[in-house]
């Protein structure tokens, strides 16, 4: 009996690596600590009422952001472990198999469980406030999206201690990811982790499109919409068309592994190349999904801190929409070397380069927003500015990669790694940081200490160049990606060592950010922020920080682009808008269904990973039960906040003046 138990435990838990034992112990300790604190301070009810069942977009946003910072840590630790392993030749810090798992989880986590949720967090925080809405179009669905993401991410992370991590690269190309070559459960974790959170992403896409189309405040025509909201709209367009492709692709891979299908197997007519074709139809648009909102943030941040209207607004909008459509026509540039013939390569090379045109227009417009402006440099602006040179490098190398015959020499080398980290860190992460620092006061009502923020900024920025510039060289020296070690004879050692130093500088930068948040919380009374701490331009700054649960006591009447800025100008001239009378506010009720349903998905997903019906069946039944419950009993899922209460709240936060 005991033997069998041990045998099972050895199969079930990942064993044999002190790093992992360490991680297991710390995870267990942290969990116990959290449970203890919650119980000791009697916070379970608070947690349930205020967070787990909330449908308030602002709280959902905060949860997204917390989760993504956690994932940034996990992905970052992965990165540092990788960099430590390849700092010099012949290091034996990570076994090759382990190295493979680490880069796979690093890539997957960073893009799907760090960048995506951080982006969704910012969507949630800013979009309804920017368009003068009380919430998103479907608050219930919004909460469900979050919990699906969260459970998907947890399922994926579980593979670290149970069953074994996936190790076939962040896009899991077959045949390597097929049963034949990856018989373990790691790939199943990969499939289900992404699948579950992917459903959530798709729902968010739909949700925000409807929100933006239908819920703008009266008077806010399309051409008066804040640029960030536009970018969310463009990004969501890509989401709704790209994510179903991912869903199907992963489902087919799963059918191969689980149901004996032959889509991508080597035998029985399967064609692995079809997977590569399909996954990039999602994968390429995906990188624009994450970068477009960053572009939106830069636009808002730059015009705020240049104290100037955004230059070339219409062309910015147009460029963004072109990018979102064009992004569906370039996927084959990820496999120029598959031998698809000169016609295919030429077509996709040119379509890829075409994206440089609208992107360039955006860069020029940002520059000319600053031109003849009055620039100040608090942290959000510093991130925004640091982005530009960074992204120029990423774009330049992107265009170089797009030259198909040249890509034969770049493909899968560190040149490529450097290209996409420039785009993903210099473009995406810097952008989201800018947004996070920018909206932080709006989220929590206090600002972050700028000083530590600047330290973090410089460490990130310098670390970034130190880490990734050498990688361009390494690529041209012939170093290929995903190798766990290399020889001294290659001559790659010095540059790799430099690169690793850079990675650790970024690690230190991250620690500064953690410290910054910690200090912020500690001194939050001193750092209390007004409704409009940046002297900004858009509607979210017209209400108190943090926003009350109903956002706007009265829905604003919009007359201009940069409505809040113009409103301030009008007030300076003594023109005051007529106050609208306050009316009862219609709000959605909290619901436990999103959380419960996602837990059920988690259970089912876990069952699918191991092929255990005792988990699959109850899990799926639970999901179905939740859907039925929602359909049958959601007839009174809302309530009204009475006028008195609104007035009381407003008086409290605004100190008497409504």
């Amino acid at each position: 009996m005991l033997d069998r138990l041990i045998e099972f435990a050895q199969f079930f838990f990942v064993t044999g690596d002190p790093l992992i034992y360490g991680a297991m112990v710390s995870i267990a300790l942290a969990t116990i600590a959290i449970l203890f604190v919650l119980t000791y301070f009697k916070k379970w009810g608070w947690l349930w009422k205020n967070w787990l069942t909330t449908v308030d977009h602002k709280k959902v946003g905060i949860m997204y952001i917390l989760a993504s910072i956690l994932m940034l840590f996990r992905g970052g630790v992965d990165a540092l472990m990788m960099r430590a392993q390849i700092a010099l030749p012949d290091i034996n810090f990570l076994h090759p198999e382990h190295y493979n798992q680490v880069f796979t989880t690093h890539g997957t986590i960073m893009i799907l469980f760090m960048a995506m949720p951080l982006m969704f967090g910012l969507f949630n925080i800013a979009v309804p406030l920017q368009i003068g809405a009380r919430d998103v179009a479907f608050p219930f669905l919004n909460a469900l999206s979050f919990w699906l993401f969260f459970m998907g991410a947890m399922l994926f992370n579980l593979s670290f201690i149970i069953g074994g991590s996936p190790d076939a690269g962040w896009l899991s190309y077959p045949p390597l990811s097929e049963l034949q070559y990856s018989p373990g459960v790691g790939q199943n974790f990969y499939i289900w982790g992404i699948q579950i959170s992917g459903i959530g992403s798709l729902a968010t896409g739909i949700n925000f499109i409807v929100t933006i189309i239908k819920m703008r405040a009266p008077g806010m025509t399309w051409m008066k919409m804040p640029m960030f909201t536009w970018s969310v709209f463009a990004s969501c367009i890509i989401i709704i068309f790209a994510f179903p492709i991912l869903t199907v692709t992963l489902a087919l891979l799963f059918l191969d592994r689980f149901g004996g299908g032959h889509f991508f197997t080597l035998d029985m007519g399967g064609n692995p190349m079809m997977y590569i074709n399909l996954i990039w139809m999602w994968g390429h648009p995906e990188v624009y999904i994450v970068v477009l909102p960053a572009f939106g943030i830069y636009s808002d941040v730059i015009s705020t801190f240049a104290k100037k209207r955004l230059f070339g607004y219409k062309s910015m909008v147009f460029a963004m929409l072109i990018i979102s459509v064009l992004s569906f026509f370039t996927w084959a540039h990820h496999f120029f070397t598959m031998g698809s013939g000169a016609d295919v390569n030429a077509f996709f090379a040119i379509s890829t380069m075409a994206i440089a045109i609208p992107t360039g227009v955006k860069v020029f417009n940002w520059l000319f927003t600053m031109y003849r402006g009055k620039l100040s440099f608090p942290t959000p602006m510093m991130w925004a500015i640091a982005f530009i040179p960074n992204f120029l490098i990423a774009g330049l190398t992107g265009v170089m990669l797009a030259v198909a015959p040249a890509d034969f020499q770049f493909h899968n080398s560190y040149f490529l790694i450097a290209h996409f980290h420039s785009a993903l860190i210099g473009g995406v992460v810097f952008g989201y940081f800018a947004g996070l620092y920018y909206w932080w006061p709006k989220m929590f009502g206090f600002s972050l200490p700028e000083n530590l923020g600047k330290w973090a900024f410089w460490f990130w920025n310098i670390g970034f160049y130190v880490c990734f510039l050498p990688q361009y060289s390494l690529g041209l020296m012939g170093m290929t990606r995903r190798i766990s070690t290399y020889g001294w004879d290659t001559g790659w050692a010095p540059l790799n060592f430099v690169s690793t130093i850079g990675a650790f500088l970024m690690g230190i930068a991250f620690l500064f950010q953690v410290a910054q948040i910690g200090m912020g919380i500690k001194h939050y009374r001193k750092l209390k922020a007004s409704g409009d701490p940046w002297d900004a331009r858009t509607l979210e700054w017209s209400i108190p920080s943090p926003a009350p649960e109903y956002n706007f006591a009265t829905i604003p009447q919009v007359t201009d682009r940069d409505e809040w800025w113009e409103e301030k100008e009008r007030r300076k001239q003594g023109i005051h808008k007529q106050e609208q009378p306050i009316e009862p506010i219609h709000m959605p009720k909290n619901s436990a269904i999103p959380f419960i349903m996602s837990v059920c998905w988690f259970v089912a997903g876990f069952g699918f990973v191991f092929g255990w019906l005792i988990f699959i069946i109850p899990g799926l039944l639970g999901v179905a039960a939740c859907m039925i419950a929602r359909s049958f009993y959601s007839y009174d899922a809302d309530y009204y906040i009475p006028v008195d209460e609104v007035k009381r709240t407003e008086a409290a936060i605004r100190g008497g003046s409504v």
Binding site: P96, E97, N100, Y173, P175, L176, Y181, L266, M268, A306, K307, K308, R309, L310, G312, Y313, S315, T337, M338, G339, S340, G341, A342, A346, M353, A356, I357, V361, M370, K374, S376, I385, I388, P389, L392, G395, L396, V399, A402, P405, A406, D407, F408, Q409, H411, N412, S413, W458, I462, Y465, L469, S473, M477, G478, T480, I483, T485, Y486, G491, L495
Partner: protein, 333 residues
């Protein structure tokens, strides 16, 4: 606190680090194989890289400079003489310029790219007075098998080729997909099970070059490197003779053992089983899989029992030989 010195310190630090990086990039011993081309394909690709990079930089670099200038000039400071125009947000003239210039540049890069794409299509034979030699390559877990059908010898993880002679590589895989890359000779191509790819390369100078697998294929992927020895024709013939005399043949069983997952050593074999490459390519073809409804649409002709394995390999070859190309155009109606 005065903010300026801090910013200056930060700037100086940045410049210093960048300088340090650049220094390591050039004087630390690594050599830029992609730019140190030893063959016509690599040479052409290097040219192409330089042309397109320069073209793209024509816009990128000025923008970079502009960024710094604008930020410096329009920073908010007491007594700034820079203009401030908060409502100036549109200019048809400027917009035209920055839609226009990138369009022109991209058109130029696009045309050049298209031309080179057709010129450097990997299945296109190289122009040369010399008769090309054929080498069949198969990526295994985790080693490279090279077969010389003309000479009848085979090697693992080491490749010897005559200089100035075009080499026609036929590539496949008996393991997860990989990519065959010799940076100093020219760009890579995937090796995939069930398909035969063609890649033409040539070494213009004798020497030893680095080759490796470029597409991740599992646990010991990092060990999938090989040497390429480019030698004179005489040396080549000598090497072939030596290989035949001094080594054991690769047997069927030997191949089965070799194909097992594991790291490989450099080995030379005096012979290899007849038609091994074709058998690897058609390994997954089911007997009698002639498709009664085949032949319509874009479909590489089905392989039948009657078709010789050789032909099978060729027709299956993606952007394969000329025959392969022809079959595509037929298939495409």
């Amino acid at each position: 606190m005065n903010k300026k010195p801090k910013a200056v310190i930060a700037l100086v630090l940045t410049v210093l680090t960048v300088a340090l990086i650049i220094w390591t990039c050039f004087f630390s011993g690594g050599s830029y194989w992609v730019f140190d081309s030893m063959g016509p394909i690599g040479q052409a690709q290097k040219e192409l890289i330089i042309i397109t990079t320069v073209l793209a930089s024509v816009v990128i670099l000025p923008v970079m400079v502009m960024t710094f200038v604008i930020i410096w000039r329009y920073r908010d400071r007491p007594g700034s003489k820079a203009k401030y125009k908060p409502h100036w947000d549109d200019s048809a003239k400027l917009e035209t310029i920055w839609w226009g210039i990138p369009i022109i540049i991209i058109i130029a890069i696009g045309i050049i790219t298209a031309k080179y794409t057709y010129d450097l299509e990997p299945s296109k034979p190289l122009a040369s007075a010399q008769k090309p030699i054929t080498i069949q390559v198969s990526s295994l877990d985790w080693k490279w098998l090279f077969m010389y059908p003309d000479e009848g010898i085979a090697t693992v993880n080491t490749l010897t080729i005559p200089e100035d002679v075009p080499v026609r590589f036929e590539l496949t895989s008996d393991a997860p997909m990989n990519s065959f890359w010799i940076p100093q000779l020219g760009g890579q191509i995937y090796t995939m099970s069930g398909m035969a790819m063609t890649l033409h390369l040539q070494a213009d100078h004798p020497g030893t070059y680095y080759g490796s697998g470029a597409n991740f294929s599992g646990e010991h992927f990092a060990q999938m490197r090989f040497d390429v020895n480019a030698v004179t024709s005489d040396q080549y013939n000598q090497w072939v003779q030596q290989a035949k005399q001094e080594n054991n043949p690769l047997t069927e069983d030997g191949y089965t053992a070799l194909a097992q997952p594991g790291v490989g050593q450099k080995t030379t074999y005096s012979a290899f089983p007849e038609g091994l490459f074709q058998r690897i390519v058609t390994k997954y073809v089911v007997e009698g899989s002639e498709n009664p409804h085949g032949g319509h649409g874009a479909h590489a002709p089905a392989v039948t029992e009657t078709a010789s394995a050789e032909a099978a390999a060729k027709t299956a070859s993606a952007a394969g030989s000329e025959e392969g190309q022809a079959s595509h155009s037929n298939a495409g109606h």
